[in-house]
């Protein structure tokens, strides 16, 4: 992908000193994957997170180095070994994995630290 950026208005007759530095093409991987060693790509099946803009067939960029914080969308492992994508909620009574769809109830989990596989950084949705 080649995109040229004009960094500043360029007066006629005087070249911008930044001209030499804007010729690299946009590097998608560099922009979206700051920590390649800890980033894994997953594919979504299902509809429980449409309210968050995550649809069936989308890809997720999951970064295992991000801190698991209340409100973030995460990939978690359920008791039967299934991987699920949900919103992580920590409140005084414990940890809950919420869906973003009225038909899907929240899941209460114990021992949350070992259950969270990674934090979702980016969703790739193909239109």
């Amino acid at each position: 992908m080649w995109v040229r950026w004009a960094l500043s208005a360029v007066p006629a007759g005087f070249p911008s000193p930044a001209q030499d530095y804007d010729t690299d093409p946009v590097d998608l991987v560099r922009a979206l994957v700051p920590n390649p060693a800890a980033t894994f790509v997953c594919r979504v099946s299902g509809h429980s997170m449409v309210g968050a803009g995550i649809y069936d067939g989308d890809e997720l960029l999951v970064d295992r180095s991000l801190p698991v914080v209340d409100g973030r969308i995460v990939v978690a492992v359920l008791a039967d070994g299934e991987f699920t994508v949900k919103r992580f909620r920590r409140n005084p009574s414990g940890v809950v994995l919420e869906s973003e769809h009225p038909d899907y109830p929240p899941i209460t989990i114990r021992d949350s630290e070992s259950r969270i596989w990674g934090v979702v950084r980016t969703v790739i949705h193909h239109v």
Partner: protein, 430 residues
């Protein structure tokens, strides 16, 4: 016995992933946790990796899968075919994580790296704790980290960490009193020492050398006389003197090889010559991809140590008349070497073609080479056709036949290539 010199600036750490292949599978299949799991060699032949649970129920390393499957004691065992693409990718991630701690990283194997760390008291152990944590969280792989004044001692420390889980996966011998280090060395059999295999262990026993400590106390010069300079170096390393080089930058390729376990035993020269022809072409293709030429070809083949029947390991090296990257020449010489190495009456299960004496392609034309002879266009053409239409579509001789040969790889219990194929990504349910 170790040298506690305070002038030491750096120590060596060995980071080793526990049961690497199994651990990689478990990252993407958490249901495999806490269960006996084995990973099988090429063609689903033998156990090449075991989880701790599989080890605990007595499955030996190298046990043929058909025997594991049939044994009622081992009924609960889950097997996976080797997923080299996955393990290689996870290993590359490990190296990236380690490089985040220090630039001095030497990749020793797919699951082991040596690091050089500063020798300030407590610093290396603290770093090891952070490495352990980052490997577990960022990649999901459990490691043991051993720290010592030398590579051999780092390996020893890693063994000790592995045998003593209460150490939390790390052990820094450089921080220990010499008497405590001696105790660790005394507790480890000499066969556990890096570079000391079964045969050397047997030859050391009559000399009264049974433990690692015994070996550390041996006279280095006597060891050199009786065995080799390698053993002498090992003794000195156990005493804290660095003899084995730290090589962070991969050396210029010294050799290039292609070898595999065969799907079914090969018992005739007709079959073996096909194998050699295909392997030689694969090696030649990689040679061309790296823009190198080779000066000699080594062919070797061996029988299975697990099947009954006589053992045979045949090997032969022949020089190429002119250093070359031509598949025709390399196959021709490989077949001749193979013919010399081959002996009838054995059941071979492994073969390898290795190209050595590597130099950049086109360098130092041979004295008798004809400078006016045009470059042979055929090898390049074959590479291009294969690249566009599928690996192995055409080739010289037997390699040109795409039919499935009984000795090519069987992988029936293969996990998806979660990290290397877009169409095999980890599935997550929303």
């Amino acid at each position: 016995m170790s040298d506690s010199s305070s002038r030491v600036r750096q120590v060596i750490a060995l980071v080793d992933v526990s049961s690497m292949y199994v651990s990689c599978e478990r990252v993407f299949q958490p249901k495999l946790a806490d269960r006996p799991v084995v990973v099988l060699s090429n063609n689903d032949g033998c156990v090449v990796a075991r989880s701790r649970e599989a080890k605990d129920i007595g499955i030996p390393m190298g046990e043929p899968w058909f025997r594991v499957r049939a044994n009622p004691k081992w009924r609960s065992t889950i097997a996976r075919s080797s997923n080299y693409e996955l393990y290689g990718d996870m290993s590359a991630r490990m190296v990236q994580v380690l490089e985040g701690f220090t630039p001095h990283v030497e990749v020793y194997s797919i699951d082991e790296c040596f690091l050089r760390l500063p020798a300030e008291p407590g610093s290396a152990l603290a770093t090891a704790a952070r490495i352990w944590e980052r490997m577990a969280i960022w990649i999901g792989l459990p490691v043991q980290i051993g720290i010592g004044l030398t590579k051999t001692l780092a390996k020893t420390a890693q063994h000790h960490a592995k045998a003593n889980p209460e150490l939390g996966g790390r052990c820094d011998l450089t921080g220990w009193a010499p008497a405590a280090v001696d105790e660790v060395l005394a507790s480890l059999p000499v066969s556990d020492v890096w570079g000391i295999g079964g045969r050397l262990t047997a030859r050391l026993a009559p000399l009264g050398i049974h433990s690692t400590l015994d070996l550390a106390r041996a006279d280095p010069r006597q060891m050199r006389r009786l065995f080799s300079v390698v053993v002498e170096r090992t003794v000195r390393e156990l005493r804290g003197v660095q003899c084995i080089e730290f090589e962070p930058a991969p050396p210029v390729r010294r050799e290039l090889m292609h070898g595999r376990m065969l799907g079914q035993p090969v018992t005739s020269w007709a079959e073996m010559s096909e194998v050699i022809s295909v392997y030689a072409q694969t090696a030649a293709r990689r040679l061309r991809r790296h823009r190198l030429q080779a000066g000699s070809v080594t062919v070797s083949m061996s029988t299975s140590p697990f099947r009954s029947g006589p053992d045979r390991h045949g090997t032969r090296t022949l020089a190429l008349p002119i250093p070359t990257d031509s598949p025709v020449e390399i196959v021709r010489v490989a077949l001749r070497a193979g013919q010399i190495a081959y002996a009838a009456g054995y059941s071979y299960i492994r073969a390898m073609v290795m190209l050595t004496d590597l130099a950049p392609a086109g360098s130092q034309p041979h004295l008798w080479a004809d400078p006016d002879r045009p470059d042979d266009p055929i090898p390049t053409l074959i590479d291009r056709i294969n690249h566009r239409h599928g690996h192995g579509l055409i080739g010289y001789g037997a390699a040109g036949l795409r039919r499935h040969r009984p000795w090519s790889m069987r992988r029936e219990m293969l996990s998806p290539h979660y990290t290397t194929r877009w169409d095999q990504l980890l599935d997550v349910t929303a």
